[in-house]
Symmetry: C2
Subunit: 446 residues, 2 copies
């Protein structure tokens, strides 16, 4: 490995191999434009539901970030002493910083508080499982209200976000942890709930029979059968809810909450994709009420693209103030992969629509004047920045996905004319003036 600068001292240029760390990625323009496109659509969806953005530092005190962490998280965190000897770490999610943020700022804010936060997080994961060590999270939460309307808002916002991303039909699967717990108590398996939830969570992966075997080992065959009966969906939300209610021992706040969410989703036109799925459990510790997962109907095998749920205490590590909330997180990397698999991603190498060619160096002021007029008309464009063969300039325009090229040589300039070349059809039209060229472009680009 070369030492940086060593070559300079020796008078010969050593080259440092340009590379990124394993699990980290560069985004080239096409990939970055697509990612930003999704982020912009998500932002509009969040904003249309009243969510506001916040930001927090990427680096925090390790004790803040790891207060909640179990052993698994700790091992993955990028943690180090800074120059002042402070024990610091890169955030590994957006939930812990949000909890710290709410505890610190709740008196400057207002409740209920609905925020979104889209930002990078870092985890030193095993990259062999196809995971990245730097990735983006897109979280949205409503904190300070424990209500069906808040739960429903998250469901509706998930539906709107997916619609905005144009990923096709989705299924938002919902369940309630309280209802599941009630049922487990009714079959005398309350103290085994962790094992049961863990087994049920594998249903999609290992299938019903394997889950039955695992459960039978823990609870005996009869109880295992009851659990499998419980986690099976009936025809439609209401029928499933009625069955669960009866198996869990009758109506309770959990079934009332699910019924209210269902009524709100129906009225807001989101009932079609909303499924009551009693096999959804979402991990073990954090969630206390409803839980959500979202799958793409055309690509269910990629797993959930937006998950979340309700929690009782967001920030109990940092404040005695009770902050219940509900929220979800969009899986951006998974969605990008899904869009590509579905052939729905539309690669776009650039934003500019028009290239003004550099035909003669002395005409460059004229080219800048033309570009200025185009921009004033709302048309993103660029002037090719040096005189080169026209073929090279056309090739450049095509690489950047531009639709038109404007050609002005000495003759055209003298006559005030502009050649407008359609880069798709290869057809050229001579516009008699700048105004005529603008008119033409406006019409074709509209």
């Amino acid at each position: 490995m070369l030492r940086p600068g060593a070559g300079i001292m020796l008078g010969m240029p050593d080259i440092i191999e340009p590379r990124v760390l394993k699990g980290f990625r560069d985004y080239l323009p096409e990939a970055e434009i697509e990612r930003r496109g999704l982020v912009e659509k998500l932002e509009l969806a969040f904003r249309s539901f009243g969510f506001v953005p916040i930001d927090t530092p990427c680096l925090e005190y390790a004790e803040i970030l790891l207060g909640k962490g179990g052993g698994e998280t700790d091992k993955q965190v990028y943690r180090f002493p800074d120059k002042g000897g402070r024990d610091v770490a890169l955030r590994f999610d957006l939930t812990v910083p949000f909890a710290r943020f709410m505890a610190e700022h709740v008196d400057e804010l207002y409740l209920p508080f609905r925020r979104y936060h889209m930002a990078k997080v870092w985890r030193g994961e095993n990259t062999q499982r196809g995971r990245y060590r730097e990735f983006m999270q897109c979280d949205f939460d409503i904190v300070g209200a424990d209500s069906a309307a808040a739960d429903a808002d998250i469901v509706l916002c998930i539906a709107e976000a997916m619609r905005a991303l144009e990923v096709g039909e989705v299924r938002i699967r919902i369940n309630h942890r309280g209802l599941f717990n009630r049922f487990l108590a009714s079959i005398g398996a309350a103290e085994k709930s962790t094992a049961v939830l863990r087994a049920v969570d594998k249903l999609d992966k290992i299938g019903a029979e394997a889950v039955r075997e695992q459960l039978a080992a823990d609870l005996g065959g009869e109880a295992a059968g009851k659990v499998l009966d419980f986690i099976r969906q009936e025809e439609g939300f209401e029928a499933t809810l009625a069955k669960l209610e009866s198996l869990a021992g009758g109506p309770g706040p959990d079934t009332a909450r699910l019924r209210a969410i269902w009524a709100q989703a129906r009225e807001a036109g989101a009932a079609d994709g909303l499924v009551l799925d009693p096999s959804i459990t979402r991990g073990l510790d954090y969630y206390t009420g409803v839980v959500f997962e979202t799958s793409l109907s055309a690509l269910p095998e990629i797993g959930s693209v937006c998950s979340g749920g309700r929690y009782d205490e967001l920030a109990s590590l940092y404040t005695t103030r009770r902050l219940p909330g509900v929220g979800a997180s969009v899986g951006l990397d998974r969605l990008l992969a899904a869009l590509e698999a579905l052939g729905r991603s539309r690669p776009r190498p650039g934003y500019a629509q028009v290239l003004v060619l550099d035909v003669e160096e002395e005409l460059e002021p004229r080219y800048q004047g033309i570009a200025r007029a185009l921009r004033a008309a709302g048309i993103a464009c660029e002037v090719y920045p040096e005189k080169r063969k026209l073929g090279a300039q056309f090739a450049y325009a095509e690489k950047k996905g531009m639709a038109f090229a404007l050609v002005v040589g000495g003759e055209e300039a003298a006559a005030g004319r502009i050649q407008v070349k359609d880069l798709k059809t290869r057809e050229s039209v001579e516009a008699a003036s700048l105004e005529a060229a603008l008119e033409l472009l406006r019409g074709r680009l509209a």
Copy 2:
């Protein structure tokens, strides 16, 4: 200091004090909305000039990031061994990662390549000087062309960015390092150029007489006088250029370049704010051609809000390929402070324009239906997520800067009516139907 989790083990809740590291900042919604507003305007400006976005990892091999660094940079960098023993660091600017990026990907891209990159960087600076340890940089560059048109494009894009940010009149000050060097050679001070550039760079801060004294100590009184004469502007770009050309020994590629940039800026309507200022030097090592600084006419004392210049070699540490370029960087923190000082920031606590009040719990499905109709009409809105006193709900709407509240109680719901309350005038209008309410809101919000 409390150990996280210790309290849980003892059965009593220890509280970890919620706080951020010194030099790091949370962005509450109002500040974040303003920052995002500027970023979005900058992006539109960059895109309208054909710049495309890229992204690179926040964490890189230390040898990549520090290959270029001198002692000062090294000391400020967050650098540590990762779990795999790799020597890694957080990026301290966007230029070094861009150089690595270009060296690594130039064959997948095309030249000239124009990119923008807006992202966080980290420096463990002395925070007592009012500096932050985490801040955003907004860079844009054209690489692979050494031409007046590329230089002019950066000038024009700076002008467009400042126009988009609505910071009022600006002065873009330009100079050419080659011209300065030619002049120094002509007075026999070539080998003292570092000291001269360093002294001249302080002109704005310490004044002409103090600069003269410093120069006189290095060069003698006569040469010092010549330098002061050289760095003084004349009336207008062309007169200043004529003087510099004569003092530097006649026409050269540097004066031809400046003249060409001037002609292009004039034709593109950016001549008013463009000033040839021979006292601008922009540091010492990196730049080899034109250099820029941008000041706000209403607030020159805050210094440059957008600086940059031309360089011969972007990526010589990582490739033998020659990559000349030109670019600039927008000082976002400084611009935010300037907008506030100028009274031009327009605080905006949220994006939603309408709150649907929660008057009766059983009407929540109806409220969600109303919100859905508003969103379909392009109106960002939210349903207050629980039944509370109307006063508290109105106060919430005002805190989030909403313009209207919709009130639907049992009577209104039965009759299909909606009360539309203007939160500024406090005036209420009763709409006979949802359609009528939509009509009213569309008119008022337009």
